[in-house]
């Protein structure tokens, strides 16, 4: 595995008061690096970049929705002119049960967050020009305590007349950990219902099913119940609470159904889109 980490700045919060417990150095907890699935890239030909976080045993970082507490891990790309990035893709998270019935969603051990980067098709640059792809990454790493961390990671790639693959196995491995997306229609969440509620029905027969919401919907608190597996498939109850004083502009809410991989080591998932009706 080739890593092209040119700069890596890891900082940790400086405490305002010495009397308060000193935070651990965040670089002991999370090692961040940036990689691409290509070493040489071609104008107009998309490639994938990833931020790989290696997490100290016993600690975790968070998914897009941290759950009852925590902060989402964030990646922001800084790209050369004309380059565009897809949204950041998060692998299917684990459920992290905390004392007091608090449930968080996130990752232990390691996680890679990826985006597809598309270079401009007409590059003014000559062959063998080096371009910098930079990721600004923020995370909150928690165990008994929490330690915030951030890194600025830069990867240098060479533009040329063909794409040269790199890190193929690693990117395939993390690609397989992303949720699939279903086009199966789900019954809408009707906001005028009291309470707004619906059910998602899938034909999946899976082990240890759980359902979670990847993010927040402005003006709504969406709740998903425990999925019920039957002989014919899996049912997920969904309900919502309309927050007073807030405007609902979203036309749908994604629900992530997750289940245990047959080998039991990782969780797999499927993202299902539930339409929202009556919010505008």
């Amino acid at each position: 595995m080739r890593k092209l980490t040119v700069t890596m700045i890891v900082t940790c919060l400086v405490l305002g008061a010495t009397a308060i417990a000193t935070a651990q150095n965040t670089s002991d907890l999370v090692q961040a690096s940036i990689l691409a699935d290509a070493s040489n890239i071609k104008p107009g030909e998309p490639f994938t970049v990833g931020v790989l976080l290696k997490i100290k045993p016993g600690w975790h970082v968070y998914w897009t929705n941290p759950g009852d507490a925590g902060l989402p891990t964030r990646v922001q790309w800084i790209l050369p002119p004309g380059y565009t990035a897809s949204e950041v893709r998060f692998p299917v998270p684990e459920h992290l049960d905390q004392p007091g019935g608090i449930v968080c969603f996130g990752y232990t051990d390691e996680v890679m967050l990826t985006s597809t980067i598309t270079p401009p098709s007409q590059s003014s640059a000559n062959d063998s020009t080096a371009v910098d792809i930079t990721a600004k990454v923020n995370w909150l790493c928690c165990s008994e305590n929490c330690v915030p961390g951030k890194a600025i990671l830069t990867l240098q790639l060479i533009t040329g007349d063909k794409t040269l693959p790199d890190n193929t196995q690693l990117f395939e491995q993390w690609q397989n950990r992303l949720p699939t997306r279903t086009s199966a229609p789900a019954a809408p969440l009707v906001l005028s219902d009291s309470p707004p509620h619906t059910q998602i029905l899938t034909t999946r027969k899976i082990t240890d099913p759980k359902a979670i919401i990847p993010g927040t919907v402005d003006g709504l608190i969406v709740s998903v119940g425990a999925p019920q597996s039957t002989a014919t498939g899996t049912t997920i109850p969904v309900s919502a609470q309309v927050l007073k004083g807030q405007t609902i502009t979203a036309s749908s809410v994604p629900v992530l159904l997750t289940w245990a991989d047959p080998d039991g080591k990782v969780r797999l998932g499927e993202e299902i889109t539930v339409p929202i009706v009556g919010g505008h």
Binding site: A17, I213, S239
Partner: protein
């Protein structure tokens, strides 16, 4: 309202685990009573402040999000500003290993001239369904919950504009005799490290 909706939903759908905020007392319901000890060994009861507006702030001095706010000074600034209007501000620490002594150190380090109540058993935290530090509950003069949720709308601490101090907004509205326009927000921060 919220728990009622939650209960209806549970009844209708067999929901077993509502993900968010379901354990918090509904807006407009009577705030759960409590008696706890502060960092100086004084007994403090919610009923001591009957007829006053009370803000409860879930606190853990070792949470970096709490530390960020105390370094910036915004929570104390809000607490001190509204103290002039008669608003009582109580910090509550539901961390399983909190002690009066550790709360006293935190109060000294951050010039907190208000009680930090020790709830190491987590009883009061569970009664309010507090999940994060920081997390705020505001109780109106009528003893009913008027606001619950986040300290502001800036989880990452990097907003320069469009920042909303939710408790200040709610307190302004309550003091002006208005209904709180955003009574529930999603709290953010560290997990409350409960004993169980």
């Amino acid at each position: 309202m919220k728990t009622k909706i939650g209960l209806v939903a549970i009844a209708l759908l067999g929901l077993s685990a509502l993900q968010l905020l379901a354990a918090m007392p509904p807006i407009g319901s009577t705030a759960p009573a409590f008696t706890l000890q502060d960092q100086n060994g004084n007994s403090v009861s919610l009923s001591d402040y009957a007829g006053k507006i009370v803000a409860l702030e879930w606190f853990n001095e070792n949470c970096p999000i709490v530390q960020r706010h105390y370094k910036a000074g915004d929570i104390s600034a809000t607490a001190n500003k509204y103290a002039a209007d008669g608003v009582v501000w109580l910090a509550i620490n539901s961390t399983h290993d909190t002690t009066d002594a550790s709360n006293k150190v935190a109060a000294g380090a951050w010039n907190m001239n208000r009680p930090i109540l020790s709830d190491a058993s987590g009883t009061v935290g569970h009664a309010y369904g507090a999940t994060n530090t920081p997390e705020i509950f505001i109780i109106g003069k009528d003893g009913k919950v008027a606001y619950e949720g986040a300290i502001d709308n800036d989880p990452q601490g990097d907003k320069s504009s469009d920042k909303v101090n939710y408790p200040a907004k709610a307190l302004d509205e309550i003091l002006a005799g208005k209904t709180v326009s955003e009574p529930v927000t999603k709290p953010y921060g560290c997990t409350v490290h409960y004993a169980n």
